[in-house]
């Protein structure tokens, strides 16, 4: 989930080779049916992969592999969105639905190098208080493991530990001498958290980038479900880029695909100490369906009805103003697209220990699949606004 809609864009001059449409056509992937998605290994793979906003190429290759199992064509667009088409069986021209889960993650960037130590400026995506003492991967000339060092309590001035860690003292240490660091690392290189996925009790997982790779996994579950039955509409499964920097990927992919319906899948805040109950939802007790100006009321109702038909627990998440997810961009693409949002409750969002329930992820996949299976030639009629005119008048 994006912290701010308009963020500072990363230096696009550095978007090197990946921007070539190398996945232009893995097309005609063999569509494999009936292989259940093993969620924990998939989440591990997706969570541990690298893909900071604007630099999504490593994660994109993994998503291509995963979505490719179910798609007839896979491509990436100009901004790097990964787009998989799972065609429906209805008569042409077929309506289409776009599923958008963002594959980018938050990260840090080297601002300058001092005596071999890397300075990382305060980034607006992290609460800096979680950073000291974390392990990181520096994406320099090659990958370097390092730590965000924290001074031992013995040397702190009296009262120093009562104030938050100053961001100018957040230094990344790779253990290398200054001359080697200057050969391997440049200002502008990216840093991600070195945070292996951990399985907790109760079917929970903790890791980095589960905002929003959990949604990418949910879409994979949906595609797998769809591969075992018929559906009429075309499905575009999109792993979007640059959501954390202003939903840029959703904006361009929704324009490019011009779907009839767009559903964003993201994470939402789960109950936890320090987070107000008003904005948080129970973990492991089902996804949320958002309502509010950002979301088409007919679509909200249809999603809720689908959950009811599956006897699935869901929570309604009111959002008083648009923003924060890819649904913000989808809704206002072209002449407007009915947009919906399903969210997976998550604790510790925007930290290296984002916690999700595997069951919630699987539920989102099933809910999406059931919703898509029910789409037919009349579905769009339900998404019109009633003008209140009496036909006899």
């Amino acid at each position: 989930m994006a912290l701010a809609r308009a963020g500072r864009p990363l230096d696009s001059a550095c978007n090197r080779a990946y921007n070539r449409v190398r996945l232009a056509c893995i097309s005609q992937c063999e569509r494999r049916k009936g292989l259940p998605v093993e969620l924990v290994p998939l989440l591990r793979k997706l969570s541990e992969a690298t893909g900071v906003s604007g630099y999504e190429h490593p994660i994109r290759d993994l998503v291509a592999e995963e979505f490719g199992r179910y798609a007839t064509s896979i491509r990436s667009d100009t901004l790097g969105n990964l787009i998989a088409l799972v065609p429906g069986s209805g008569p042409e021209p077929r309506p289409s639905i776009m599923l958008a889960g963002h594959m980018d993650e938050i990260g840090l960037i080297v601002s300058h190098i001092e005596e071999g130590f890397l300075h990382v400026p305060g980034m607006h995506s992290y609460d800096e208080r979680v950073l000291p003492g974390q392990e990181v991967i520096v994406h320099g000339w090659r990958e370097l493991h390092g730590v965000i060092g924290a001074r031992p309590p013995h040397v702190l001035a009296p009262g120093e530990s009562e104030k938050p860690y100053p961001t100018d003292k957040l230094l990344v240490d790779t253990g290398l001498p200054p001359d080697e660091v200057s050969q391997l690392v440049r200002v502008g290189d990216l840093i991600t958290m070195n945070a292996p996925l951990v399985e907790l009790k109760g079917g929970l997982v903790a890791g980095k980038a589960l905002d929003d790779r959990a949604a990418v996994a949910a879409v994979a579950v949906c595609l797998e479900e769809l591969s075992r039955s018929q559906h009429e509409w075309d499905v575009y499964a999109v792993a979007t880029v640059q959501e954390e920097e202003g939903c840029k990927g959703a904006l361009t992919s929704a324009f490019g695909l011009a779907p009839d319906i767009g559903i964003a899948i993201d994470v939402t805040w789960a109950h936890q100490p320090g987070a107000p109950d008003e904005y948080t939802y129970p973990l492991g007790e089902g996804p949320t369906i958002s309502c509010g100006p950002n979301f088409h009321p007919g679509l909200v109702k249809a999603l809720r009805d689908t959950a009811d038909s599956l006897e699935m627990d869901v929570h309604l998440e009111p959002a008083a103003r648009p923003g924060g997810t890819d649904a913000w961009a989808i809704q206002i693409a072209r002449e407007g697209i009915p947009a919906g949002l399903l969210s997976i409750p998550q604790r510790n969002m925007h930290t290296p220990v984002e916690v999700c329930s595997v069951k919630d992820i699987e539920r989102v996949g099933r809910l999406l699949a059931a919703f898509i299976r029910a789409l037919d030639g009349k579905s769009l009629d339900k998404l019109t606004f009633d003008l209140g005119l009496d036909e006899t008048e």
């Binding site: 005596e115 208080r129 392990e135 031992p152 013995h154 790779t174 009790k201 805040w269 100490p273």
Partner: protein
């Protein structure tokens, strides 16, 4: 590698069992006696070849690490904790831990930045407001695998970061598993003196293991081996680095717990110079070691502390140079070989 095994082992103060077992296995075949005492210290005696009465040399390294203790199991299944030893509370949010005998994985909660006001971000969250999430949804569920009083450590794994040069490694608990690794490496040679190794408990909560070990061992002289503060990253103010990584073992002249015996300091400096082993003097006045307890045992014991410089001790992950560590082994072996002649008392 012994250091790797020791660093990854679970052993906050008072719960050193896993470390003790690793060390017992590591030194068993090379020592004459091996036992543990009432506080859990692991004592290994290696008799010398010299004529009796032989000089009795105590070499201490503490097995315990800083960690957490579970002090509260909440109705919602979250775990409250306190710190065992000195940990800066600012380093706890959003860290991975393992808890208790079953090594249950957990994470320390951190509220999402989206729902945190700027004023809150300017505040340090105290230990009493933090909680560990193990995935339990009720206290009953939590109690199936975690109990009040269980210890927890950071879930950090050892890894060599640089193969060449200083051979830098990262891991947790280098204070004082680095000292343990050095002490354990001393037993593969024969000395003229009687060598008494004390792998001590409870250093981080008041040097308690070393105090009773020194009483029981009645050493003539003592060396405390440590992983010590290395605060050598760039800083704006002109603050001492305490020690520097890769500049050799650090000799303590004075810290908050004791003043080193000046004869032992000179012996170490002379030996290092003769052998061409680099060393550095630790900035005086900072920290404390088991030497603080040992030097005032019974009627007093001449003592000195020596350490491997370790960046970021008492935090979830620290760094050391394995070249420094090897040099400390070399220096200690050379000093032990120089005894008893080198010690004039």
């Amino acid at each position: 590698m012994l250091l790797e095994e020791l660093s990854n082992a679970f052993g906050p103060s008072g719960c050193e069992d896993q470390v003790r077992r690793i060390l017992a296995r590591a030194v068993r075949s090379q020592v004459d006696e091996l036992h543990s005492d009432a506080l859990g210290n692991l004592i290994a005696l290696k008799r010398g070849r010299g004529r009796e009465p032989r000089l009795r040399v105590m070499v201490d390294a503490h097995m315990d690490e800083v960690g957490l203790m579970i002090t509260r199991i909440e109705k919602n299944g979250l775990l409250g904790f306190r710190v065992v030893g000195g940990i800066d509370p600012r380093l706890l949010m959003a860290k991975r831990v393992v808890i208790g005998g079953e090594r249950v994985p957990g994470v320390i909660l951190a509220p999402p930045i989206h729902l945190t006001k700027a004023a809150q971000r300017a505040q340090v969250v105290g230990v009493s407001e933090l909680a560990i999430d193990i995935g339990a949804t009720s206290d009953a569920q939590a109690r199936e695998c975690v109990h009040l009083g269980d210890y927890a450590t950071f879930a950090t794994r050892f890894e060599v970061l640089t193969e060449g040069g200083l051979r830098v490694a990262k891991g947790k608990a280098f204070d004082d598993r680095a000292g343990c690794a050095v002490a354990a490496a001393l037993v593969d040679e024969e000395y003229d003196i009687d060598l008494a190794l004390s792998f001590s408990t409870q250093e981080e909560v008041g040097l308690r293991g070393a105090q009773v070990a020194a009483f029981a061992l009645r050493p003539d002289i003592a060396f405390a081996l440590e992983g010590t503060i290395c605060d050598d990253m760039p800083k704006k103010a002109d603050v001492s680095p305490t020690t520097r990584l890769g500049q050799g073992p650090a000799i303590t002249l004075m810290d908050r717990s004791f003043i080193a015996d000046h004869r032992l300091v000179r012996l170490l400096q002379e030996t290092a110079t003769q052998q061409g082993i680099p060393y550095q003097i630790k900035q005086p006045g900072i920290g404390g070691t088991d030497a603080g307890a040992i030097h005032q045992s019974r009627s007093g014991v001449p003592a000195v502390a020596l350490a491997v410089p370790c960046r970021y001790i008492h935090t979830p992950v620290s760094l050391l140079s394995m070249v420094d560590l090897d040099n400390l082994v070399r220096l200690m072996k050379a000093v032990l070989h120089s005894l008893p002649e080198g010690w004039t008392g």
